[in-house]
Amino acid sequence: MWDWTFTFEILPVLARAAIMTVEATALGFVIAATLGLVLASIRLAFPVAGVVVTVLVELIRSTPLLIQIFFLYFVLPKAGIVLDAFTAGVAAIGIHYAAYCSEVYRAGFENVPRGQWEASIALNLSPWNTFKDIILPQALPPVVPALGNYLIALFKETPLLSAIAVLELMQTAKNIGSETFRYTEPVTLVGVFFLVMSLVSAGIIRMLESWLQRR
Amino acid sequence: MNDMPMVRFENVSKRYGALTVLDNLNLDIGRGEKVSIIGPSGSGKTTVLRMLMTLEAINDGVLWVDGEPMTHMMQNGKLVPATTKHIRRIRAKIGMVFQSFNLFPHMTAMGNCIEAPITVLGLKRSEAEERAAELLDMVGLSAKKDHYPSQLSGGQQQRVAIARALAMRPKIMLFDEVTSALDPELVGEVLQVIRKIGREHDLTMLMVTHQMGFAKEFSDRVCFFYQGKICEQGSPAEIFGNPKNERTRQFLNAVLEAG
């Protein structure tokens, strides 16, 4: 049923693919975290533009990531923007999770007491300085665990990149499978990799959370 | 069997880790007796009721109800820890009213009063409703029977809670600081109901209370708890009129001064 020799044979190949998966996760999350903050800030600063952002966020969150990946990969070239599969895929993942992250930041902003804004006005701080020096430092730390949870969620969605043939873990496992007709080992190993990484990161986030609470 | 008291705490202890909440308690409560438990917070008085209602497990000793052990049962002439089935059979004799009412928010006043009679006692709905209507009438809430808890005042909710407990036809009623969560002007209506059931029902009643006036007028016996022990007990006249223990005197002075 389970062939250990075969397992050790494919392990290095999968390990290389795992690096690709981690890269995609890291880049995707950088986009998600930054763009999410931008979206949430626009909502906060410009209520009118905020309506557009709200609709956009709702639109992104209501449609499948896979379709969004296809959209960026196939539709953008029609507009003259040709992206390679990895870039298009990572961008799609990043934008998808930016929508989720923007909601997290928004909750963070809303949790800063009104009095902080009022005190800043009383001190005659400019809106930009109030945002940068007073609101952000209070809004961000409490939302770090929630962002962390989206980091794990994003990580678990990177196998979707296999749909546009990015050679990450899932695609590599599938390739091994179709070449050798043995799927048990590669697909199970991919599952184990994701399980271990998720459990470890979930543990780290829990620690972070209790550290934030004690602070 | 009838010479056994209604409730007997026999060498009962309760500990939370290193903290001893009740220390080797021995207490008998007679049939139909009305006993008030008073004492400073943290003296273990609420724990007495919660153990009797099986909301807290006891660490040592045996609890007897109506001549039978509740926390234990007889097996081959020896006391062994009770099974759930045994506990439920004995527990049927006890009803409880809580400080925070604990009405079921998704059911009307009537719904609260017929739920357990139907599911636990197996009464027919019509029977249960008839009985509940009588009880709601007795607590003065006939007009509110179709209201949800969120539509009732605190005093009204507590009166429904009393009717709900009585609907299970208990022999023993426990009242755990039932007026503490109420606005002062609503306390009277609840105490009035308790007086009434004391008169009209043949119940053994055990109450933890901060209403010294009510304890004095209503109970047959008053127990003063201090640091997990009964410090002094006696008739209301003795405890309130002529307390022998220094702690009792200090407590009563403090309470009366604040009141």
């Binding site: 459990l199 | 009803g95 539509q151």
Partner: protein, 242 residues
Amino acid sequence: MWIRMLTAMLAGTLLLIALLSANAEYRLFMPGLLEGAVLTVEITLLGAVLAVFMALIAALAKLYGPLPIRWLSTTYIEIFRGTSALVQLFWLYFVLPQFGVFLDAFVVAVLALGLNIGAYGAEVVRGAIVSVARGQWEASIALNMSKAQMLRRIILPQAFTAMIPPWGNLFIELVKSTSLVSLITLADLTFKAQQMNQSTLKTVPVFTLVLLMYLAISLTVTIGMRLLEQRASRGLTRGRVA
């Protein structure tokens, strides 16, 4: 208020689909895409039923089961939350046959997605049960109810209200993850889109229509759950006395 805005969005989406399909370039794709949409909805509905069922069982087992059952349920929850839906789908699709278990792709799809969402749902159910006030348990004990009676009559009905919003989110996740079944050859909305895109290269009309259709499905789910939420919370908050 929110429901009105969502309904307006749904109406707008449907209107946009109708307007676009007046155009011959778009109309061409409609029959095929609608066929795919039907499969997407079918998988969503069956997956949702399985997910709710699994979530209830797993949550109750984790809370009240004997130790081995508790472990089993924790293992299920952790494995299905810890690996990704696509890995689970591929595992059932590619690996099970190597163990001699041959399942129809449709069955695999419903199983994988239902089990996946069910694992997340289990934590939702557990959280909702745990968050019911302690006093409700105590009052039920004082009324001498059995554990099963307390759960069925007192705790679950109250937990139900708290569960609706997170389940709404999970059902949206389910709708979206049905697109993965296109990767195991099921002709759902995404599969049809891919197929039409490859055969006609009319990328923009195809993907625009598909996005709008998914949006319509998701909005319908969200509106339905909001209505359910309104209804369920009515009994608890009706005419609260200040």
